[in-house]
Amino acid sequence: MMEKMIFGRYLPLESPIHQLDPRAKLLFTFGFVVVVFLANNVVTYATLAAFTLMLVYLSKINLRFLLSGLRPVIWLIAFTFLLHIFLTREGDVLVKVGFLEIYEGGLRQGVFISLRFLLLILVTSLLTLTTSPISITDGLETLLQPFKKLKLPVHELALMMSISLRFIPTLMDETDKIIKAQAARGADFSSGPIKERVKAVVPLLIPLFVSAFKRAEELAIAMEARGYRGGEGRTKYRLLHWRWKDTVAVCLLLLLAVVLWRLRS
């Protein structure tokens, strides 16, 4: 579980997609979320699906692994499909069972919209499977630079992200330790009426908060002792490089958008 928390969903592999700059991948993903809405007939959906499968192939991520990650959203897709099948009333009636009528338009809409959902989820999970949270943080920090003009503290926000990445596993461990410590003192978490159980949570949360605040204070003192003075004039340890490949990736998305625009009905 701890490993899962540290690396998130990142799978370290060697593939053309892994090597892309995180900024390019972020732009690509946000662009794709918009482009998906251009598809509205069989040809455009087929193009989109083929494009997505090509991306999956290029990422060298096992398709079975990718699909197993979809398990939590499968019911959502199924729900969407059923919603359309039973509630959209267009075209001819295909099947009639009792009071349930399935229309041709409903079936088509159901398939299209579930496919749209599936593709959106596949492409967005590809981003997080091929890019580590740290690179995404770096990428976001550079992409959000223009917002500095609007007084958005971009550097500080990125630093908050990095700090939380570092401390999530620590606090998880800490919670586990506190539970065991309180159980050793005779705290009973697992039985009794709900009111008693809620009361039992207080001796868990108070030490957790106190320890979190203590850590925050110590970290702040350590930062100030090392002369931290915000993002102004600060140099970086990890540098991002925009290569021609990244330009190609972004152009590919634009090409897809143009193709879909021409093919849509």
């Binding site: 928390m5 749209r116 949270p133 926000l157 999530i168 539970i179 159980r197 925050a216």
Partner: protein, 198 residues
């Protein structure tokens, strides 16, 4: 912006994001938090505390960054989910609404620090969480899933009324807890004195 974010502000906000990650998944660490087969997440609870402890501005900022950390692929959302795909999930509105929740709770408790105010602020925060989250869910079904006419606005609310009593109880607990935390522990701690003099 009134004041630059200090090192202490940044580390406190980062720590609160980590606390949110713990709160969202507390059931997997502590199995006792399952009541009647339904796992409880403490996300709203912690979002209310973020507003009460960090104040309106920093609380809202930390909740916004929490959403970003989750989108970056760290499994900080409930059921250890995370990743860019969360953005198309209909429940993402609840995560975004934590920003408003923390802001409102912070604004209300900054003026008046009585126990009654803390509880009232928590309830206001919870209502904001529900209103924003349910509207987003409705909109998400309409836009992403292009839900047909049959999926009405009242159906979305009917769906959300099931966990409502539990969340009202949790919000009241959060208010009392925040009050005690503030008056018994934090009022004497180092960072409160630093922030007051800064």
């Amino acid at each position: 912006m009134k004041r630059k974010l200090t090192a202490l502000d940044i580390s406190l906000a980062g720590m609160f994001i980590a606390l949110m990650a713990v709160g969202a998944n507390i059931t997997s660490i502590a199995p006792f938090m399952v009541v009647g087969g339904v796992p409880i997440t403490l996300q709203t609870f912690f979002a209310i505390l973020a507003g009460a402890v960090l104040g309106s501005r920093l609380g809202a900022v930390s909740m916004g960054v929490y959403a970003l950390v989750g989108l970056a692929g760290v499994p900080v959302f409930a059921k250890f989910s995370g990743g860019m795909s969360a953005i198309v999930s209909p429940t993402f509105g609840f995560i975004l609404s934590f920003v408003l929740t923390a802001y409102a709770v912070g604004k209300l408790t900054e003026r008046n620090q009585s126990l009654r105010m803390y509880v009232a602020a928590s309830l206001v925060g919870m209502v904001i969480n529900y209103v924003a989250g349910t509207n987003w869910m409705y909109m998400a079904y309409k836009v992403w899933a292009a839900a047909p006419e049959g999926f009405t606005y009242s159906l979305a609310w009917l769906w959300m009324s099931v966990p409502l009593p539990k969340d009202i109880a949790l919000a009241i607990c959060a208010g009392v807890f925040a009050y005690r935390l503030e008056h018994r522990i934090l009022s004497r701690s180092y960072f409160r004195t630093v922030r007051k003099t800064a």
